[in-house]
Symmetry: C2
Subunit: 138 residues, 2 copies
């Protein structure tokens, strides 16, 4: 069976649909809501569920596969791959810096203090790691 994948697409979201899917799955993996070996919904099934075109889902899956987050098995489906890192140290560092720079750009004119921004980030990062597969505490 494939995981239910409580995924939703927001029409108001500035991100492209396929990007929303990529982000959602990428985040779910980081949160351990999806573990190695888990089977994803089929291209057609997820497309049906989200009321979008199968090609759009295929594009998202292709992106995730290219990133090494998914393994494709012809005729079987797509599965969460073992954690790996196919990016070089330089590339990872470059992307981290770019992502941080983008945040700095985005909040530059909002007049938040450094501490406020850092606290918000710490909070959001914490929301990721705390959701472990061992969870279920009360």
């Amino acid at each position: 069976m494939s995981k239910p994948l409580k995924l939703s697409i927001r029409t108001g979201d500035p991100r492209a649909i396929f990007k929303q899917v990529v982000d959602a799955i990428s985040l779910a993996i980081a949160r351990n809501e999806l573990e190695e070996g888990d089977k994803l919904p089929s291209v057609r099934a997820l497309a049906m569920q989200l009321s979008v075109n199968p090609n759009t889902i295929a594009k998202a899956y292709a992106e995730l596969t290219a990133q090494g987050l998914l393994d494709a098995r012809q005729g079987l489906g797509l599965f969460i791959s073992a954690p790996k890192q196919l990016l070089s140290r330089e590339e990872r560092s470059k992307r981290l810096r770019a992502a941080v720079q983008r945040l700095v750009n985005d909040v530059a004119h909002l007049h938040y203090s450094d501490d406020e921004v850092l606290r918000m980030l710490a909070t959001e990062l914490g929301r990721i790691r705390t959701v472990s597969k061992t969870g279920g505490a009360a």
Copy 2:
């Protein structure tokens, strides 16, 4: 006179040209490299300097004006406006959270520790505030 505005456009940048201009100027204001009352290069002059279409620059200026960062005076030019905040508290908070969420998404699969991300952000935020107009300290 208008500030020289050492601005550059990178063709490899995924951002649209007008967005690069918006971000650069927004950042320059946050850095106090541009102060209230400073005059910006004319639409046509900056377009010439960057080898892009005047319409593209006009679009960037219009965006900055809409954000309240610039004041337009017909026939005179565009000037850095007094610091103000026309966004509601909710809107600012919403944007901060969205920006932070985007960062979290971007770095989710890079396997950086929370501390590393936070330290990078603290560094980049620091690079903003340290550049004050009172600068020039040997």
